[in-house]
């Protein structure tokens, strides 16, 4: 019999409240026509509903005007839009500052931008185009990348992370230079759960005299904590509806009006124009300048219901609930000597600067007690000293009805920094089997409960049983006792 689902992959996407599903059906059943087009009532009705959600989003994130809210497909499209439209102004020698904990969607668009930056050398026949050069700054312990050997093109720098998985902001003074044009940082890491101090970073960058535009990737934070763009002080903010109980296919780019007005359009087509003749086009005003073509109308309308869903519960209540679950899960996982955890330790209350995401590996080498008990010789192999690959963990958990994510979480550079997937030379290839190159990840949403966490922990016990940890390593009884104690202790604390 199929077991009931404990859905613990909310950082990937959230399940949808009935109100959101109903809103999609209602939009198509009763209010559907193309927007901004028809003079007939139904089109006006659809337009009003669609634009109403724009105003709702603006209010939700503390934007000054709904004209600053652009609907895209998702966070990825929002960041790509910026890499095209803001990136056009970049010149060779300019710098982009990212962090080591970025999702691929906040790295790859900037690397691709580098291919588009106009320089003399890009059209030269030197044969260096597209070749990635890597240099290592021993002082900053951070790598710099540029795509040509003579540094003629845009340089991408990364703010390093410390041992706890927080940004090492002491490096900012060195990393921010006169040539820094774009700073793009995630508000919350999709692997470590770290919530970055954007407000502090913005003020530090500004106090260094930099006029760089500051972009915040809020994909992981939105729906889990209160976001106010005027408080953050950033220039742009990107997020997706599907990670905040809304439909997939809807994303948001918020930007300061004066910056959006200066920017050229992204895609050309219908709806983004005021008039077109055969020679030229006069572009539409904000925000429609950036919304070419028919958007995902019903999904945007239903997105409004997702915002209502969050507002009804209250961002602070959501944060409190998820922080409690995170602490509960963290303590239980930590009590297990074969579980290796990544990211900052959760602290009590909403001031905890981490979100409801926990990355871990089932790795006996992580445990001191297991190391002490380590049998010698060939026995060490059979005692399960090899880390269990996250795919195996996730497969066994899936059979137990627990859905978790396994893999590199679209953050391969971070995986290498964490030592989960260090870059290897061909000579080191023999050792690769012991590096999983991946991690397990659980992430919580409003509907998760302590029982879901308990089932996760029971599932991990099953994993250890399947991989014969219990019989030979001798750590299982101890781990069960630890877990029991941790569970008892945290049961007494209301979350």
């Amino acid at each position: 019999m199929k077991k009931p689902l404990a859905y613990l992959d909310n950082a990937s996407t959230t399940q949808k409240p009935q109100a959101v599903i109903d809103a999609i059906v209602d939009a198509y059943t009763n209010h559907y026509a193309n927007i901004h087009r028809g003079v007939y009532d139904l089109s006006v009705e659809a337009t009003d509903l669609y634009e109403g959600v724009r105003a709702k989003v603006a209010k939700f994130i503390g934007a000054k005007s709904e004209k600053e809210v652009i609907f895209t497909k998702n966070t990825t499209e929002s960041i790509n839009l910026l890499s095209y439209c803001q990136g056009r102004t970049l010149q060779s020698g300019d710098e982009i500052l990212l962090t080591q904990m970025e999702h691929h969607s906040n790295i790859v668009p900037w690397q691709m931008l580098n291919e588009r930056v106009k320089t003399k050398s890009i059209y030269s026949s030197s044969g260096t185009e597209g070749r990635i050069e890597k240099s290592f700054d021993p002082e900053l312990k951070t790598e710099e990348f540029s795509t040509s050997s003579n540094n003629k093109k845009v340089k991408i720098k990364y703010i390093p992370i410390d041992n706890e998985g927080r940004l090492d902001l002491s490096t900012l003074d060195k990393l921010v230079t006169k040539r820094t044009r774009i700073v793009s940082i995630t508000l919350m890491s999709n692997v470590l759960g770290t919530i970055n101090p954007i407000k502090e970073i913005v003020s530090r960058v500004r106090s260094l005299g930099s006029k760089a535009i500051i972009i915040v990737d809020a994909a992981q934070a939105v729906g889990h904590m209160k976001i106010d763009v005027s408080d953050l002080g950033c220039d742009f903010l990107a997020f997706s509806a599907h990670k905040m109980y809304g439909p997939s296919g809807v994303g948001v780019l918020w930007g300061r009006r004066e910056l959006l007005e200066q920017m050229p359009p992204f895609m050309g087509g219908g709806d983004m124009i005021l008039s077109v003749d055969f020679e030229k086009t006069i572009f539409n005003d904000l925000p429609w300048k950036f919304e070419a073509g028919t958007p995902s109308i019903a999904d945007v309308i239903a997105f409004g219901e997702a915002i209502s869903f969050i507002e009804k519960i209250g961002s602070e209540n959501i944060r409190k609930h998820e922080t409690g679950l995170t602490r509960y899960a963290w303590n239980l996982l930590k009590a297990d000597p074969v579980v290796k955890l990544y990211g900052p330790e959760p602290r009590r209350g909403p001031s905890s600067s981490r979100g409801a995401v926990i990355a871990f590996n089932v790795d006996p080498s992580a445990s001191h007690s297991t190391l002490r008990d380590k049998p010698s010789g060939s026995d060490s192999k059979s005692s399960g000293q090899v880390p269990i690959h996250p795919h195996d963990v996730a497969s066994i958990l899936s059979d137990e009805g627990v859905a978790i994510r396994s893999g590199h979480h679209c953050a391969q550079p971070l995986m290498s920094v964490l030592g989960i997937d260090p870059p290897a030379t061909p000579e080191q290839a023999q050792d690769l089997r012991w590096r999983t190159g991946a991690a397990c990840r659980v992430s919580f949403g409003v509907y998760n409960t302590k029982e879901d966490v308990d089932r996760l922990i029971e599932g991990i016990e099953k994993v250890k049983k399947v991989f014969k940890f219990t019989k030979r390593s001798g750590s299982s009884r101890q781990s069960s006792n630890n877990i029991l104690r941790a569970r008892e202790a945290s049961r007494e604390v209301p979350i």
Partner: protein
């Protein structure tokens, strides 16, 4: 999951033919971009037969065990036989279905050794 039988776990803990082959005639890499699993096969060919084989790589128990089992199965077989191995054969070798989410893991090595088929003409020369 029933696939994690003792035989599979044993291949995962102590994979057969694991390591680099210094005098390899052919080296074939295969990566699963979805999960980052990676395998490299080393072949030594003598008279159209696989006289030596080894592999290195990283991956889950299913992909490492599949590589180990497959390497044992094709040792001393003619190179021409490689192209005839099907996914069904691999599932049979590892002892049963793995579920759609894990097929990529089970077939990573199969995809790697199939590549040698395209090099066959060169091999026979």
């Amino acid at each position: 999951m029933d696939i994690y039988r003792e035989e599979i776990l044993e291949h995962w803990r102590s994979p057969q033919n694991f390591g680099k082959l210094e005098d390899a005639d052919f080296v074939i890499d295969q990566i699963n971009p979805l999960c980052g699993d990676q395998v490299t096969f080393y072949f030594k060919i003598k008279k159209g037969k696989i006289s030596k084989i080894s592999f290195t790589g990283k991956g889950c128990a299913i992909s490492i065990a599949s590589a180990s089992i497959l390497s044992e199965a094709i040792l001393n077989k003619p190179v021409s036989a490689l192209a005839k191995i099907t996914g069904r054969d691999v599932l049979k070798m590892i002892g049963g279905p793995v579920g759609p989410a894990r097929l990529k893991c089970a077939f990573l090595s199969l995809e790697a050794i199939r590549k040698i088929g395209s090099s066959r003409l060169k091999l026979e020369q």
